[in-house]
Symmetry: C2
DNA sequence: CTGAAAGCGCTTACAG
DNA sequence: CTGAAAGCGCTTACAG
């Protein structure tokens, strides 16, 4: 950049010292009204904006939050990002984003986000392994996890949703309201905590009704519609008997419905379907998807709040679990026309 | 942070000067192999990561790109973000994100992103007004616009898509293949450049076929399904005659289809529908939406490339227009079952 | 190939 | 209420 204005230029024009300029800009100490006015004028005049790096270096604070995502491209992240950005921005923090899926071919993966460039980290990914999490914890660096519990020994705040309760409710609904007995659980990736907790809710609901758990009925759709399609095709091919499918996410429901339709099974008459998330498109499916609404934007907001507490040295909630809501539409057999 | 390791600690442990440490870390000058090994060991040992702010201040580069979005929450932004993040990350740039819709009540809106904290700006918003754009241009600060032309006098690279051509093609299709003559154009917000360019394509297609332009047939859906619903209701109430609707975006198509169904108009038999964008849900609508595929992720990628050229002082493309693709599904009357 | 030194642009005690 | 000075942790000529 060709010679931007610095605090020295402002000081000179306002005829005060740079200390005074700093004071009025940060409101960090009382300053004479006239002097303040001159400083403000000079700032406007010179179009001065303090250099962030200099400020960070001198103040030992970056005023920046780091957001580590598994894959920034997911539809799921839109509300999460919105929530995070809103709260961070309101609190005066900048937001540095990094996706962990994009691996840099050949490059040594230098730590992208950490103590060297942020005041705290928000993570929604398994990319922060236990070793790194332990290191950050040891140096007392603020971290908040989303949709993921910290490793056993570490005290790291975590924000998630009522996965088990939500799943239990919706599966209970399939059983109670629609008489389902052979319910498939279409799970997500092996390590996905949401998926595992939702499976717990699924099993709990079966147990509540004395329905034996059948491992044949649990298959993976990887939380992805194409894989879900394949998984259901597999079930059909193997002639597994089922009267309902609870997909651990909404995306999968797209593939599920397609596979069933192609096989001539009617939804919900022959097979009742329910999902989880209440994604934007859930109501657009045919039939509209019964699902569990996950307050994702709220997760983002809450996570930033906790992170800011940590940064300020205030006590933070070790575990925040946000409530979900059962959304009944027609894919389970409710609200059918006629 | 409690005493992080600094370059001094590394230098001491490796028994070299901080200059040498800097050299091996940045590969900025040849260093004796043994010394280099000692430095690398010390770095690992101390878990050293260079402090970003210090580096930025000394090198006069932030290695950070700023992304200014109107509203980070839009479904539209997901692929854009993915494209931007991937290229920025590959090129070794960090990404600072700011949404311009979130207005800070009471706070003086300090410049969020600019010369003080980034090496260049990517903008997809009208929040960068002509004054600010002019200022940035004058100080030679790199900026690239997405889906938005720069003010007349300014030379600011811009990346967009073939809005006019795409719209012309899809409207031509409605006319040629499905005999539409009274085609509604459901436009977006007044200032939205995509919407305006798409309207040009719409008008051009009408002209190509000698169909007179009827201002009654252009109404605003604000690129938003609820507004679109209201707009179509209005058309119906006023008994405006039409046989097709071209919505300037896909979101609106949701509201459009709903309004028509409620009024007992069949899609596509009574009214053919076509959208623009090919959003994720376009294929999920009933009937599946005929639309124009916009390569949004590619826009993001291309924009970052141009920005990096600017930052490096290399020549940049003043205007990049990415091709679109007509996607025929059933909402226009194509591919009907039976 | 290497080190001492200046400097990047701020903030923050310290002294007044 | 105000200024001079030290210092934040690096990079980068400069001299060798």
């Amino acid at each position: 950049m060709p010679n931007r204005a610095t605090i020295e230029d402002v000081a000179r024009q306002a005829q005060v010292s740079i200390s005074t300029v700093s004071r009025v800009l940060n409101a960090s100490a009382p300053v004479d009204d006239e002097a303040k006015a001159r400083v403000l004028d000079a700032v406007t005049n010179l179009n001065y904006t303090p250099h962030s790096a200099a400020r960070m270096l001198a103040s030992r604070k970056t005023n920046t939050l780091g957001l580590l995502l598994l894959d920034i491209g997911g539809e799921f992240y839109t509300p999460l990002l919105r929530g995070i950005e809103a709260v961070a921005s309101d609190a005066g923090f900048d937001l540095l984003i990094h996706s962990t899926r994009t691996s840099h071919a050949g490059l040594i993966p230098r730590r992208a986000l950490g103590e060297h460039n942020t005041d705290g980290l928000l993570a929604f990914t398994d990319a922060l392994d236990t070793a790194e999490l332990t290191r950050l914890n040891q140096i007392g660096f603020p971290v908040v996890l989303m949709h993921q519990s910290p490793p056993p020994a570490l005290e790291i705040p975590c924000v998630s949703i009522e996965n088990k309760t939500g799943a239990r409710q919706v599966v209970d609904h399939l059983i109670t309201a629609h008489g389902a007995r052979r319910i498939v659980y279409l799970r997500g990736p092996q390590q996905n905590e949401d998926s595992k907790d939702r499976e717990k809710g699924y099993r709990a609901a079966l147990k509540d009704h004395g329905i034996p758990f059948d491992p044949m009925l649990v298959v993976s759709g990887e939380f992805e519609s194409t894989q879900a399609y394949v998984a259901v095709k597999g079930l059909l091919d193997r002639q597994v008997v089922f009267d309902a499918i609870f997909t651990g996410d909404d995306d999968s429901a797209i593939g599920v419905i397609q596979a069933l339709k192609e096989a001539g099974r009617r939804v919900p008459e022959d097979v009742a379907i329910a999902g989880f998330d209440d994604s934007l498109f859930a109501r657009l499916l045919t039939p509209p998807l019964t699902t569990v609404r996950a307050p994702i934007e709220q997760v983002g907001r809450e996570a930033v709040c906790q992170l800011i507490h940590l940064i300020r040295g205030e006590p933070a909630e070790p575990r925040t679990i946000l409530p979900v809501e059962l959304i009944l539409r027609s894919s389970c057999g409710c609200n059918l026309p006629g």
